[in-house]
Amino acid sequence: MSMQQALNRALAEVMTENPRALILGEDVGQLGGVFRITDGLQKKFGEARVFDTPLAESGILGMSVGLAMAGYHPIPEVQFDGFAYPAVNQIICQVGRMNYRSRGKLPMPITLRVPSFGGIRAPEHHGESLEAMFAHVPGLKVVSPSGPNEAYHLLKYAATRQDPVIFMEPKSRYWQKGPVNTGADAAGYSPTGSRVVREGKHLTLVAWGAMVARCLQVAELAAEDGIEIEVLDLRWLKPIDAEGLAASVAKTRRAVVVHEAPRTSGLGAEVASIITERCFGTLKAPVERVTGFDVPYPSGDLEDEYIPNIDRILYGIQRVLEYRRG
């Protein structure tokens, strides 16, 4: 099943299980969304529960706040990550704060789906990495799946929470296929925390979203040289699974964080700090970061230079492995 199908299936199940769940956004109805994530859902659940809004992101999020106040569970979509910016006022000032402002009386069970990150050579604002911005906002939770199985389980989980979750879908992975454990097969699967997707003993690569698959490729290549790399899919960007991180790095004693977002004040810094706090004594080298740069997300032709590629990640690994105390 592709990630697109997995997300679609998860939404269908959430909508079936919770009659108060609603899907709203631009073109999510008849068209099924520009990425077809909501394909067929309007037909299945009706125009009252899956509906197109006018083209206004602040409106979509502000309306979701009111729907949540009326006892619904809105699952809004913004069409592309860069178009979440016009909704930021509602997301930060309202969605993230209403539970607090109302002393817990007005929970905001809103799952905002955001097609995220680059890698599809799209025009400006169709590829952005907003995770650090959202993770910095009190009251929000942020999660990003790395493949179809994660997508299915994380979305089902997020969309049944009583707190707002920003659900960042790596759009470059939408059509990637993989096994998805549904129904009885899903038993025992935990949608919380991080997940070790490949075991290793020499170094931990920490990544999320589309970077997880790339890190797995890197680990394959490194294995040819006898370097055993552990790949940790962070999954939750807020809250970050500090225990899982520490457990992995305590074992490998070295870590490299990989993300597409700009480097300065990116989540890599947060991850590195958590690792340092928890594993300082056992670390053999400072935590390295391989990230995007402090530039606006570049055009398609430069994307390959911007998004961490295999060579840059390998080089980061080398820096850590060869680190000598000064």
Binding site: A48, G66, C93, Q94, N99, S102, R103, K105, P239
Partner: protein, 348 residues
């Protein structure tokens, strides 16, 4: 004042006797509490307050028209008069001005009065979402709960207000957009704020009815709001009421209106005092006498005493609450921060 686009039906029979007296009592209570709150700020009982001197008729009249068994209010930071009219606990309301809790201590669900909102235009969209929820609940037309959202002429410049009006009109959501055009957004007068000079005038562009009403006439405001509510309740979609009023005092207790207008201008532009006007009307129609006015004022003073005592008794919230209401399901990281805070503060 002319209807920009008249609302069909009034939704409420002409107000009589006891109703008119009640409107006056409410206005006196609100005026007295408002003036007291300014005094409390000067005395240091509360750090700040947003007065509404001159807006009593707009607030009381619109609040009085609501059916609080099914309607829901989305206020800004200046709707004390509406809150008082619809029965919000005034100590819990004032707690926000005491800096006890943003949004106030009252339960917004039980009181059907959303938390106090500091972002201008911030809750206008929420009203649309809530109202659309009433439609989704399949409430029969004629019984719909209506969201009433309050905002000022300044807030009407916000893009969210346009989005809200457009969404509501497209979705036929039962919303009443209630604008208190009090002439000023802090120091900027309406003519430098609202192109075309009227917010109600915009409604035509969204295909919704609107009415501009004399905001100093509490009866007219009640009637206009009732008509708008009836329109929305019947499933005909949103409506706009623009109450033309005047903010007589400062914008907030830290404002200095002397920098942008003169006392002379305040006197001439202010229009009729809504309280004096209602009083004259009650007297002229033989509905009330001096004894009634004395009683109403005495009741307002007694109420103010009680509220003052309540605010005085409000202690600071326990520090743990800072962490308690961020999430329904708190994160480990936040729990760790809470216990670190406890440890650090108990340590010293």
């Amino acid at each position: 004042m002319a209807d920009v686009l008249a609302l069909d039906g009034t939704g409420r029979a002409a107000l009589a006797g006891e109703e008119l007296r009640e409107l006056y009592r409410l206005m006196v209570a609100v005026r007295h509490l408002d003036e007291s709150a300014i005094r409390w700020q000067r005395q240091g009982l509360i750090p700040g307050y947003a007065p509404q001197l001159g807006q009593e008729a707009a607030q009381v009249g619109s609040g009085y028209a609501l059916d609080m068994s099914r309607d829901f209010v989305f206020p800004t930071y200046r709707e004390m008069g509406v809150a008082r009219t619809v029965g919000v606990d005034m100590v819990e309301y004032m707690s926000t001005h005491k800096a006890t809790w943003h949004g106030g201590l009252y339960d917004p669900k039980a009181s059907r009065f959303a938390p106090i909102q500091a972002v201008v235009g911030g809750s206008v969209l929420h009203a649309v979402g809530w109202a659309h929820g009433q439609t989704l609940d399949r409430t029969p037309a004629g019984e719909l709960g209506v969201a009433i959202t309050y905002f000022g002429d300044g807030a009407s410049s916000q893009g969210d207000v346009h989005e809200a009006m457009n969404f509501a009109a497209v979705m036929k959501a039962p919303v009443v957009f209630f604008i208190q055009n009090n002439g000023w957004a802090i120091s900027v007068p309406t003519e430098r704020q609202v192109a075309g000079g009227s917010v109600a005038g915009r409604a035509a562009g969204y295909g919704m009815p609107s009415i501009q009403v004399d905001g100093n006439d509490v009866v007219a405001v009640t009637q206009a709001t009732a008509a708008a509510l009836a329109h929305a309740r019947a499933g005909k979609g949103p409506a706009v009421v623009e109450a033309m009023t005047y903010r007589r005092g400062p914008h907030s207790t830290s404002d200095d209106p002397g920098r942008y207008r003169t006392l002379e201008e305040e006197r001439t532009d202010g229009g009729e005092d809504p309280l004096a006007r209602m009083r004259a009307r009650l007297l002229a129609d033989g509905i009330a006498d001096e004894a009634f006015f004395d009683e109403a004022l005495a009741a307002a003073k007694a109420e103010e005493e009680q509220i003052r005592a309540g605010i005085n008794a409000l202690g600071p919230r326990p520090g743990t609450e800072m962490f308690d209401f961020v999430y329904q399901e708190p994160t480990q990281a936040l729990k760790a921060q809470a216990s670190a805070w406890r440890e650090e503060s108990e340590h010293v």
